[in-house]
Amino acid sequence: MEGYLLILVGTVFVNNIVMVKILGLCPFMGVSRKLETALGMGAATTFVLTLGSGTSYLVNKYLLGPDLAYLTTLSFIVVIAGIVQFTEMAIRKTSPVLYQVLGIYLPLITTNCAVLGIPLLNVQAKHDFVESLFFGMGGALGFSLALILFAGIRERIEAADVPGIFRGSAIAMVTAGLMSLAFMGFAGLVK
């Protein structure tokens, strides 16, 4: 039990996927303009990543095995794209409300490198099934945390008096760099 908690804390804070591993920067810069979109994207990513790491584990363990290890990247891409499409259709039919919240972000996630990166890191770290699930969920929660914090800061910056040459993406990059530095402070949290 303690191991799972360590994985969760480790992925959310210490090895935050955006801030420390520098994965998934495209949605991090792209959908962080507003807090609501950041929340929607975070929720959708959490959903897909948890599901994706579980399924990828099963594919890797039972379909590929050690002989076909060189197919992991390729097959994970196919599997994740399939899962995302399937969830989108299922959600659209079963829960229109949830679809409105997550709908437009789900296809965006299909080719998100964080979503592919976490299953690959799972394979590297030789996690078992439950550990993979926790690793996926932790990574996604870390992603959501970074995204939501960043969106909050960007909303404030919109109203701030930023020097002309720094407006827009430039100040966002500076902010992201400072946030990344701040997350380095978690480095000694888990021994």
């Binding site: 594919v59 379909l63 590929l64 002989d67 076909l68 060189y70 197919l71 390729l74 097959s75 196919v78 599997v79 399939g82 499409q85 399937f86 259709m89 299922a90 659209r92 039919k93 079963t94």
Partner: protein, 183 residues
């Protein structure tokens, strides 16, 4: 090598089969084009196009039963957007359905109102507040300026008031440059 090909082909086939099944099992009724057209229309629900609201008009456009130039509140800008969406030619607004007016809201002269509730029944967006024999009033933020409440009022106590510019409604003006003849 051959196993790898078989594994990937099998994986792709399995996922394809699942998605194909899902597409049939989770089919969602509804016309995506109608939603898109409806999103462009101004949602005044005024009925000037000859249909009982924006959604039915969108439906009629999607089915090819109506022209795109029947919506006066939307004006030319809306017709351009609809023409872009549907790949159709731009047509000027059909004057038979009315002319665009400045955006306005209904105001009830509360001295004259007799509390007959006829206007509350006519309002398509439930923007008029009031009960029988009580004075009515219009919720300005909800009113779409469709003028449907003007006709039923027996004492003619409702009139339209153009919405002026305020901090909430102010927009950048289109840049207009005077054309000067080159020397």
């Amino acid at each position: 090598m051959l196993t790898a090909v078989f594994v990937m082909a099998g994986l792709a086939l399995a996922i394809g089969a699942v998605l194909g099944f899902a597409a049939i099992r989770f089919r969602v009724e509804g016309h995506p084009l109608v939603e898109k057209i409806d999103a462009i229309l101004p949602q005044t629900q005024c009925g000037q196009c000859g249909f009982p609201g924006c959604k039915p008009y969108a439906q009629a456009i999607a089915e090819g039963n109506a022209e795109i130039n029947q919506c006066p509140p939307g004006g030319e800008e809306n017709i351009h957007k609809l023409a872009d969406l549907l790949g159709a030619e731009f047509k000027p607004l059909n004057a038979a359905h009315g002319v665009p007016k400045p955006r306005s809201v209904a105001v009830i002269d509360e001295e004259l109102c007799i509390g007959c509730t006829l206007c509350t029944q006519a309002c398509p967006v439930d923007a008029i507040l009031g009960a029988a024999k009580q004075m009515h009033t219009v919720i300005a933020a909800e009113c779409t300026g469709c003028e449907l409440c003007l006709a039923p009022c027996p004492v003619d106590c409702i009139h339209m008031l153009p919405v002026g510019e305020s901090i909430g409604s102010w927009k950048w003006k289109y840049p207009v440059f005077p054309l000067t003849r080159a020397a």
